[in-house]
């Protein structure tokens, strides 16, 4: 993703995002030299910080105070970071965002401890929020996030899955944390129930659109643009929406079966990617992503007028139209 453009979009939040960035550095500070190194390694790798941005923007619909809202924005990013470290163990990933993963630089066990440390730190922060419902939301989100990942492992290399299976999986894997970021930001700032509901739905639809785009980009982008090998999902056995839509096309089907039978050559792996890129799968997946984007924008329309409303709209549009 073009991070510069995105940063321009949330330039109104610049000083508050600096507070969050500093607080993230404080949060991952540890008495363990090794955990410090591993956590800072993650922090320096950057990231879009899209979840904290949604927390802050949603909080703008209530009584906004960065001092209290940081206790929501920091933990959602820490949870996201922790799940990425654990994902890299699951995927045996060597690089992420162009840098070595924690598991590659140290080992799986250190990655497990780093993730556990970040989860624990996230919970230390969020417990500054006294609203008990917020904790029910976040704990439910964390469980659903896990179930999404569990289903993903279970569904690997299973070609008979449906689009619905895929959508249910990405709802849990991605959309629910973005939705919770919006919901929690709004709850923590005392936003009225109706607005909370619209923000929660907005987050869900944006999350769905975002993940579909992510899955398209995994196929159509270059290694350099992604900071990891293109087509990683497919190589891992994860069947994403473009693949599901393209799987029965004559040029794709035999290569796909060969891939999952383990009989494919490395040249044919590249041919498979090329065929999916040319297929209707990409177009159809973009259409579905757009549908979710429209639903997200409809939710924004129903929000009370304020500066955050326009920002939410712009970020949603940008995220769903990004090129990498």
């Amino acid at each position: 993703m073009d991070k510069m453009k995105l940063k321009l979009l949330y330039s109104d939040l610049k000083s508050d995002l600096e507070v969050i960035e500093k607080e993230l550095a404080v949060a991952v500070n540890s008495s363990s030299h090794l955990l410090n190194e591993a956590s800072l390694h993650l922090l320096l790798a950057g990231g879009k910080r899209i979840r904290p941005v949604f927390v802050l923007l949603a909080a703008k619909f209530g009584n906004y105070s960065i001092e209290s809202i940081k206790n929501v924005a920091v933990p959602v990013e820490l949870i996201h970071m922790a799940s990425l470290v654990h994902d890299d163990v699951i995927d045996d990933a060597e690089t992420r965002r162009g840098r070595e993963t924690v598991k590659a630089q140290w080992n799986n066990r250190v990655a497990m401890y780093t993730g556990d440390f970040l989860f624990a730190k996230a919970m230390e922060y969020i417990t500054e929020v006294q609203n008990t419902y917020a904790h029910e939301v976040l704990s439910h989100t964390m469980i659903e996030l896990c179930i999404g990942e569990i289903i993903q492992v279970e569904d690997k290399r299973f070609l008979d899955q449906t689009v619905r299976d895929y959508l249910r999986r990405i709802k849990r894997k991605t959309a629910i944390l973005i939705s919770a970021s919006c919901e929690l930001g709004a709850i923590a700032s005392g936003t009225d129930a109706k607005t909370v509901r619209h923000l929660k739905l907005f987050g869900y639809y944006v999350g769905m659109s975002f993940q579909i785009i992510d899955d398209i980009l995994d196929i159509v982008s270059t290694d350099e643009q992604l900071g990891k090998p293109a087509g990683s999902d497919l190589l891992q056995g994860n069947i994403t929406l473009p693949v599901l839509y393209a799987k029965n096309e004559p040029a794709v089907a035999p290569l796909l079966h060969a891939m999952f039978n383990g009989t494919i050559s490395s040249d044919d792996q590249q041919n498979l990617l090329k065929e999916i890129r040319k297929s209707e799968g990409i177009t159809k997946a973009k259409q579905l992503s757009n549908l979710y984007l429209q639903k997200a924008l409809n939710e924004v329309k129903q929000l009370p007028a304020n500066s955050a409303k326009k920002s939410l709209q712009n970020i949603a549009l940008f995220m769903s139209k990004r090129k990498f």
Binding site: S30, S31, S32, H33, L34, L35, S83, H86, V89, I90, D92, W106, N107, N108, R109, V110, M112, Y113, T114, G115, D116, F117, F119, A120, K121, M123, E124, T127, Q130, T132, H135, E136, L138, S139, H140, M142, I143, L145, C146, I147, E149, I150, I151, V153, E154, K156
Partner: protein
Amino acid sequence: MNETMITQQVNQFKSDILMQTRQSTLLNYTGTPIIDEERLFFTLLPLLNGEDWDKSERISVIAISLIFSALAAHDLVKEQNATSREQQLQVLAGDYYSGKYYQLLAKDKKIDLIQQLSECVASITEHKTRFYDQQNYTFEQLVGSIQLIESKPIEQFMEYYSFHDYVFFMKEALLLASLKKEIAAYERMEATFYIDKSTVLKTNVNLLQTEIKKIENSLIQDVRSSELLKEHVKHAIVERVTKCSLETQLREG
């Protein structure tokens, strides 16, 4: 309360914990979560000794056991090549149990306890990495780390519910149990969790054995002379401590 009733209590809690963690895919690939019965027994000391105990204490004990199950699941992830489906799901099992512990306490509105337990988990991970980094730790520091890793959340639970007087017995007993398991595995040339990763411990196995004897003798003496513990609890503790004596563990292999 006799030994049979104690076993029933422990088993009841165990089945309550398993109820919380039922997830079909995890059950298929990773089995039921690891629940250390000895640790559970020492967590339940106040209840077994007749202290007032209501729903909140019950829920909190289940939550604490889930924390240990989560950490234990992650300890089963191999240092390299965790690529099998079982290993991948072991990663997720730990995260799932963590989420469950948080949800359980959130529903019971125990936000302050969640905060304290989160600090314990962060601290445990910091002490676990002592066995992976290149810093020079002393024998005493490493034994201190093992004790914290084995018991910190239970200590926090006992402090939270004002069961302060049980903390010493629980911490010493769990340290003892852990050190004995380590030594026994080491003597049998099996993989150990701590000794394999620490030159200081490896070169001081004799010192570790002396430490075990010292803790065991002093713990048994303290339990027998305790005015807090009831006779059936004293008996149950001493039985557990001596049942898994170092000699027995080595003999039984």
